[in-house]
């Protein structure tokens, strides 16, 4: 009688359909928690793989169903890699990089690329307030390259995290300086300052940059003399540009043009007397807001936040409370559904104020209690965090996910001598 040798156990899996007499040797009638052992030539069974918990946090109840996104999850991504455009004391302006901005031990490393950025403004413009002259857009940093003011045209360079290259030029060659860049409604805008004989002949021009082609298109004619453009926002299909005074006696002004259609600027509003600086324009919940400063010693009309109530009509919604001079609302941005402003030299320090509706305002944080004085120049949102940073030679930064809570602070690369009343040194990131 032949022996019973079964070495193809499970080779044919489970069979409950055939009668017991007709089932084959390699078949089983039950195979609970086992599977075919594929390492054997014919058969053998091995336990099935076990199951382990995937999520660390208990979701608390019945998991009814799920689906995986076919694209990266950006909700949890927080890049810690930042670049700091730092003005130096003489020589070209450079870049530093930190790969661990959110870590306890922050380190800045001098890097190139990105290559050197726009040098100091022409001497004639040295006393003007400086603004952010570079932007992040779809994972790239766009910044002004170096040029010789009045001789060679300003250039726009783009940095992709690895390399940088020249993308565009702002003609004519006599264009003096790129004064501000901003992204609004997904479009990149550039404000320039053209040199002239003196402040009565300087003019600002407004351009749009196509990041795909590098084409630079001027929007409307040059703005009026006696002003330089310092803020910008697209709102209700119009492009609004805020201009601060250059000529003594002028007040801050807002211009308006129907984007892509019109060719001539309309003066939207002139600020009240002594409100000389326009620092930011922001469209928030369907309405347009402007922040102003007042640097006249009288301080009768202090720096304020105004809201457009109709074309040409604006109303004050928040006012600087200052011990002396006029006070300055330095910056404005939207974070987590609220409108935030950063005010300088107010009673109580430099103040971060917020509003949910643009009407009622509260102070969320101040310097030096919550963030450093040297971090009080620029407001920006990076991922799920609100950032403040300075723009001087010894700038610091602070960030938080909860402005009324704890702020994390840090120090920028810091070059001595590169100071002034804001040099435009800027914290940048290639966020997703």
């Amino acid at each position: 009688m032949k022996p019973l040798n079964v070495y193809n156990i499970g080779e044919k899996g489970v069979n409950v359909d055939s009668s017991p007499i007709h089932t084959e040797d390699g078949e089983l009638t039950r195979a609970q928690n086992v599977e075919h052992n594929k390492s054997g030539a014919r058969g053998g069974v091995v336990n099935r793989p076990g199951l382990a918990k995937h999520n660390d946090d208990d979701l608390g109840s019945l998991v009814l169903g799920g689906f995986t996104m076919s694209y990266p999850d950006n909700s949890q991504v927080e890049t810690a890699t930042f670049w700091w455009a730092q003005q130096t004391s003489g020589g070209a302006n450079v870049w530093y990089r930190s790969n661990d901005l959110y870590a306890s031990s922050l380190t800045w490393v001098l890097v190139d690329p990105p290559s050197a950025w726009q040098a100091d403004p022409p001497v004639a413009f040295a006393t003007l307030r400086h603004y952010t002259r570079m932007v992040e857009h779809k994972g790239r940093i766009y910044y002004p390259g170096t040029h010789t003011s009045g001789t060679t045209a300003p250039t726009i360079r783009v940095f992709n995290g690895k390399d940088d290259y020249q993308l565009a030029k702002i003609l004519p060659e006599t264009t003096a300086w790129i004064h501000l860049m901003k992204v609004s409604r997904g479009r990149i805008f550039i404000l320039t300052l053209d040199s002239g004989v003196d402040d009565t002949s300087w003019v600002s021009r407004v351009f749009e940059l196509d990041p795909e082609t590098g084409y630079v298109t001027q929007i409307g004619a040059a703005l009026d003399t006696g002003y330089y453009a310092t803020a910008l926002e697209v709102h209700n299909n119009d492009l609004y540009v805020g201009a601060s005074r250059v000529t003594e006696g002028n007040v801050g002004r807002v211009y308006r043009i129907r984007l892509d259609i019109a060719t001539a600027w309309t003066t939207e509003v002139n600020m009240a007397a002594e409100r000389n600086n326009i620092t930011e324009l922001t469209s928030f919940k369907g309405l347009l807001y402007v922040t102003t400063g007042s640097n006249d010693s009288n301080g009768t009309n202090k720096g304020a936040v105004l809201r457009q109530t109709a074309l040409g009509a604006w109303a004050v919604v928040d006012t600087a409370v200052v011990p002396t001079r006029g006070g300055l609302f330095q910056a404005m941005t939207i974070f987590e559904g609220k409108l935030y402003t950063l005010g300088i030299a107010f009673t109580g320090g430099n103040l971060l104020r917020s509003s949910s509706d643009g009407t009622t305002w509260v102070t969320d944080a101040n310097s030096p209690d919550d963030f450093p004085d040297n971090a009080s120049s620029v407001l920006k949102v990076v991922g799920r965090r609100l950032f403040l940073h300075g723009a001087g030679g010894t700038s610091e930064f602070a960030h938080t996910t909860t402005p009324t809570g704890t702020w994390t602070t840090g120090i920028g690369p810091g070059e001595t001598g590169g100071g002034g009343s804001g040099t435009g040194s800027t914290l940048m990131t290639l966020r997703p």
């Binding site: 009688m1 032949k2 022996p3 019973l4 079964v6 070495y7 193809n8 156990i9 499970g10 899996g13 489970v14 069979n15 409950v16 017991p20 040797d25 089983l28 009638t29 039950r30 195979a31 609970q32 928690n33 599977e35 075919h36 052992n37 054997g40 058969g43 053998g44 069974v45 793989p49 076990g50 199951l51 382990a52 918990k53 995937h54 999520n55 979701l59 608390g60 109840s61 019945l62 998991v63 009814l64 169903g65 799920g66 689906f67 995986t68 996104m69 076919s70 999850d73 950006n74 909700s75 949890q76 409604r185 997904g186 709102h235 209700n236 259609i261 469209s283 369907g286 309405l287 074309l311």
Partner: protein, 523 residues
């Protein structure tokens, strides 16, 4: 890394690909999630679209922002005025409004259907125009879009975008008919309350909860535009109370399952889409018990598992495990509509979760090996009650089958022979061996079991010798650390069956022998 959107009871979560971070998502206002049916989701562009459980279809983006698939349309007609300003526009004009969902860059994510038509056109005479009575949306919209006709025309063109959701009138506009744009207003339409959803050929396909026999589809490339005319009946209309049960998505075919039949969508555009017959003998019981893998759709019907692929439609369970589906001995057949599929692409196996006979939850699963076409199981686990399954991706973007449980946890495969902290309960039953003489009594000698040498663990081997009704003998202990072990003589009888059971760790059986089998004669 790709996160999973997960519905947990009546909440929505984003679970990172490594499972370390879970974030509860905020639902839009007035959106609730039902808990008595499964969510049905698909990808479209950079959004996950969720239907069947939300009170209206919703989307989730990569930042975890949840929005409605399309805002509700304006409910009042607009008014046009001349704003008192002189201009250049002369003629009769009408306007309509939609609501827009925008991303942070100002791109349109979704657009509502149009508001009502103006009854009477506005007659302009060298005027500027503005819009009054602009509707405000109850949804969280970022803008309104106003379309207007040309002077005396009937075709609408994009005119003005109004930011926010607070303004009830627009600014004055002087643009001529030539300046307002060359493209007519798009086809729009509100998405219905969808019970199931699929993404195929650049459109979304769904079933209206109230029009259960019709396939609805969106405009090409637009997840939010569902014109009423985009509808195809899946015959026979009115034949049952269930209607369309599942979409069966393949590369170039879209199957439409009903309880007792299957159809297929043919055509390439709105003008030639139609539904033709695929089968009048088998259908799909639910969307969850339908799955596509490598351009073949596997689906559960009343009598087994079917495959619809390049080779046509065939049953893959007949001849092996048909009895699992056609008898009441193994599974609770009344719960087949609640069964759900999963696929493990690395092990090349399909997994079908079913309820054990008499059970009210899907507490068992069976596996179909796509390589050698064999069936395995029924498997079970003591660690959790399975409730749902989907394909995830690990931190290296490799597919990772995930199973949702009833107690807040999601499970994935591991090499350890345990489910969380519970040992695997292994139960193997062989055939009734007869050594080719089923009617002859035999003496079955010493049993020898061969397996992998494990560090520890024992397996109980329970023989039955006799005929098909032979009782189980006392179990014999096979010590796994021995690897190969000669055990006792098994006994006498016409047939021999062995059962291997253990719940103490890994098991790898190579085979077994009985080296002296003597025939005793026909008795």
């Amino acid at each position: 890394m790709a996160a999973s959107v997960v519905q947990v009871d009546n909440t929505l979560w984003l679970v990172s690909s490594d499972g370390q971070t879970s974030q509860q998502l905020t639902l839009p206002t007035d959106i609730d999630l039902a808990t008595d049916r499964p969510p049905r989701m698909t990808n479209f562009g950079r959004y996950v679209v969720i239907t069947n459980t939300p009170s209206r279809p919703i989307t989730v983006d990569g930042l975890g922002k949840v929005r409605v698939l399309a805002p509700r349309p304006p409910n009042q007609a607009l008014t046009i005025d001349d704003d008192g300003g002189a201009g250049t526009l002369t003629g009769d004009y009408k306007a309509r409004q939609t609501f827009l969902l925008l991303d942070h860059l100002g791109n349109v994510i979704a657009e509502s259907d149009y508001g009502p038509l103006m009854e009477t056109a506005f007659t302009a005479s060298s005027d500027t125009l503005n819009v009054e009575d602009v509707n405000l949306s109850p949804d969280d919209v970022q803008a309104s879009r106003i379309y207007r006709t040309t002077a005396g025309g009937e075709v609408y063109f994009t005119w003005i975008d109004i930011d926010g959701n607070t303004q009830t009138r627009s600014v004055s506009d002087t643009r001529t008919d030539e300046e307002i744009g060359d493209f007519a207003a798009p086809e729009l339409g509100s998405p219905p309350d969808l019970t199931t959803i699929a993404s195929w050929r650049g459109r979304l396909w769904g079933v209206d909860r109230t029009a259960i026999d019709h396939v609805r589809f969106s405009e090409a490339g637009l997840m939010y535009a569902w014109p009423l005319a985009n509808s195809i009946p899946a015959d026979p209309v009115g034949s049952d109370f269930t209607g369309i049960t599942a979409f069966m998505v393949r590369r170039d075919q879209l199957g439409v399952g009903r309880l007792n039949g299957a159809r297929q969508i043919t055509g390439t555009s709105n003008t030639d889409f139609r539904c033709i017959n695929l089968s009048e003998n088998v259908g799909a019981l639910s969307q969850e018990s339908t799955i596509t893998f490598r351009d073949t759709v596997y689906f559960l019907w009343f009598d087994g598992v079917y495959a619809w692929g390049p080779e046509g439609l065939k049953c893959v369970s007949d001849g092996r495990v048909r009895k699992w589906f056609t008898s009441d001995d193994y599974f609770e057949r009344s719960r087949f509509p609640f069964a759900f599929f999963a696929v493990d692409p690395f092990r090349n196996k399909l997994r079908l979760y079913l309820a054990a006979a008499g059970s009210s939850t899907e507490d068992r699963w069976i596996e179909y090996d796509l390589t050698d076409k064999t069936w395995w199981g029924p498997h079970k686990t003591a660690a959790f009650d399975p409730r749902s399954a989907w394909m995830g991706y690990d931190a290296n973007n490799k597919p990772l089958p995930l199973t949702g449980g009833t107690a807040g946890f999601i499970y994935k495969g591991q090499t350890t022979a345990a489910d969380d902290t519970s040992a695997l309960e292994i139960d193997i039953i062989t055939k009734f061996h007869d050594n080719d003489t089923p009617d002859i009594d035999k003496f079955w000698g010493q049993l020898c079991v061969l397996g992998k040498v494990q560090t520890s663990g024992i397996t109980s081997v329970t023989p039955k010798t006799g005929y098909l009704d032979a009782p189980a003998q006392l179990p014999i202990i096979y010590t796994q650390s021995r690897g190969r072990q000669r055990l006792r003589r098994v006994g006498t009888g016409k047939l021999l069956q062995l059962a291997f059971t253990q719940a103490s760790g890994p098991l790898e059986l190579y085979g077994y022998e009985i080296n002296d089998v003597h025939e005793l004669g026909q008795r």
